[in-house]
């Protein structure tokens, strides 16, 4: 095949550049074939099969039969699922706002020059590279109401102890705290990349006009940074919606079902109760939700850019 490509690519008249280049371009498809095969078999096939399964009652070891849209109908009257949706949105809102605010603040700090900056920045990004399961275990020990180090730390500042993940009211904010710990660095890195690309002239002009640092941050930095912030926002929203490891390891959806997000609900339906058909319907709804939110954010990005 490559021999064939060679004969065809022999340049005859390089005068007209564009069509020739397009001819070249088309032949690069063979580079993509192996990856295409993997994507189709591991990503696309599961998708089509999930759609198919979601219209079936499908129990492992119990056979399967076609039920039409019954799984979806059942899903939207299943209070446990509807609550998991509410919890997911609650968790996502907090787990987006927290890292966004802290990440931008951190980027402003790391954008300045100071001694040991490289080391501090490396330490700061370690959480996002650490194995989530391993870190979640340490958090579990730190959350222990009687013996945990966090309640001891609180007591040093005269703050009453918290029940952390052992109380339905505090469990989601506590899990969000772990999420903030993990993913603030990613927002910081994206913002830092944005800060590095900012032009210097507007700041000098603002300084001459007597603008305060806060004013120039609000009126110059933030608007120029907006495209980067939207990228960070999109990535963070998707990741927060998909959060699984920490929640599963620390609470498994508990106490009761008070931290059961859609992803945990999905896992339990599929791999604890083996309701594969029902779980497939959850996947379809969940995916639609993620794509919907992501496109909404992408649309905002276009408007920000315009």
């Amino acid at each position: 095949m490559s021999g064939n490509a060679a004969t065809h690519s022999a340049p005859l008249a390089p005068a007209v550049a564009t069509p020739r280049r397009r001819n070249y371009a088309r032949r690069y498809w063979m580079f993509v074939v192996p990856a295409g095969v993997v994507v189709i078999s591991v990503i696309l096939f599961p998708w089509l099969f999930t759609l198919f399964m979601s219209t079936h009652e499908w129990k492992i070891g119990g056979g399967h039969h076609f039920v039409g849209l019954d799984n979806y109908r059942k899903l939207f009257t299943d209070e446990r699922f509807l609550w998991s949706m509410v919890r997911t949105l609650y968790f996502t809102a907090l787990a987006v706002i927290g890292p966004m605010v802290l990440g931008v603040a951190a980027a402003l700090v790391f954008n300045r020059n100071f001694p040991l900056r490289g080391l501090a920045r490396t330490i700061f990004i370690l959480p996002m590279m650490a194995t989530p399961v391993a870190v979640a275990l340490v958090w579990t020990m730190m959350f222990h109401p009687q013996l945990g180090v966090l309640n001891w730390l609180l007591s040093q500042f005269g703050i009453p102890p918290s029940m952390w993940v052992y109380d339905a009211k505090t469990v989601i904010p506590t899990l969000v705290m772990v999420e903030i710990w993990h993913w603030t660095p990613l927002v910081m890195l994206i913002t830092l990349g944005g800060l590095a690309s900012l032009p210097q002239d507007p700041y000098e002009a603002a300084k001459i006009d007597g603008a305060s640092p806060l004013q120039s941050f609000w009126h110059i930095t933030l608007p120029l940074l907006a495209p980067f912030l939207v990228v960070a926002l999109i990535i963070r929203t998707i990741d927060a919606l998909k959060a699984f490891d920490t929640i599963y390891v620390i609470t498994q959806g508990g106490p009761g079902t008070s931290s059961e997000t859609i992803n945990i609900f999905l896992y339990l339906q599929g791999f604890a109760y083996y309701n594969m058909g029902y779980a497939s319907a959850v996947v379809v709804v969940f995916f639609t939700m993620i794509v919907g939110l992501a496109s909404l954010l992408l649309w905002t990005r276009k408007r920000v850019k315009a």
């Binding site: 490559s2 063979m30 580079f31 993997v38 992803n263 992501a294």
Partner: protein, 272 residues
């Protein structure tokens, strides 16, 4: 005086930013080096005195930890190697063709929750009789590693000037030769970034192996999680195991922080 106060405030801000990371990792280390009595003392004892290695020994004695480490190594290296093998040419092809639709497909793989691949693949592997081997775990890890590699490489190849390859093509090289002998060597830094990121996110992955692994095929994150669920909870060994799982990744991050930052800033990639 004002400048001094400003500097002090800035120092406090830096300290505030790095302390959560330091606190968690040092506490992990501290728990792993103390005996059970010290670990459950209140107020907590921070510095192990004297440090003991019993927890690490007990992890190896009570679990098949060496086997799980081996499983993790096999899975992460194979999934990363395969991803480089097919992902680097794919990134090159997509960059050359400016195939934005193919890039979108990679993006969709990035935003799909890992669990949604698992239901059909779980059934498929059962039919194929592959459960109980490492093969299904390696295959599903490709879902993480291939998009990372392709994504990083698209960005990298788009940044390379095309003149050298074009010169090679004019001299009669095939496009494969131009890739193999011109673009590929130039892309080495990008391949390094892609390899490191794909390895780390494959190593850290929990969900695929948790669903697909049998007793003999657990990877480290699954094995550590099982220690929490099925054993008497003893903090020391648990922290020791957690530390051993995440230490390779932390050391790799420290060693290759420049490449990692470059890769992450460019693509905003993350597995799972």
């Amino acid at each position: 005086m004002k400048r001094f106060l400003e500097k002090l405030g800035f120092g406090v801000a830096v300290l505030f930013l790095v302390s959560p990371a330091i606190l968690v990792f040092l506490w992990m280390l501290s728990l792993s080096l103390k005996n059970e009595l010290d670990n459950t003392a209140f107020p907590p004892i921070f510095i192990p005195n004297p440090p003991v290695w019993d927890n690490f020994i007990s992890v190896f004695e009570n679990n098949n930890f060496l086997l799980y480490t081996w499983n993790s190594i096999v899975v992460s290296f194979t999934a990363t190697g395969l991803a480089i093998l097919i992902g680097v040419p794919a990134g090159y092809g997509i960059a050359k063709m400016q195939a934005n639709k193919a890039a979108m497909l990679i993006l969709i793989a990035r935003i799909t929750p890992g669990l949604s691949y698992l239901i059909p693949l779980f059934l498929l592997f059962q039919w194929l009789g592959l459960t109980g081997t490492l093969t299904p775990i390696v295959i599903t890890h490709l879902v993480i590693t291939v998009p990372i590699v392709v994504w990083v490489m698209i960005g990298f190849f788009e940044g390379l000037p095309g003149e050298l390859e074009e010169a090679a093509l004019v001299d009669g090289a095939t496009i494969w030769q131009a890739f193999r002998h011109v673009a590929f060597p130039l892309a080495m830094p990008g391949i390094t970034v892609a390899t490191i990121l794909s390895f780390i996110f494959s190593w850290n992955n929990f969900i695929f192996a948790m669903v697909l692994a049998g007793r003999e095929t657990r990877t480290l994150p699954v094995a550590v999680n099982n220690m929490l669920t099925f054993e008497q909870i003893s903090w020391g060994p648990l922290a020791a195991a957690a530390l051993m799982v995440t230490l390779p990744v932390l050391l790799l991050t420290l060693a290759a922080q420049k490449q990692i930052i470059a890769g992450l800033t460019a693509g905003g990639v993350k597995g799972g």
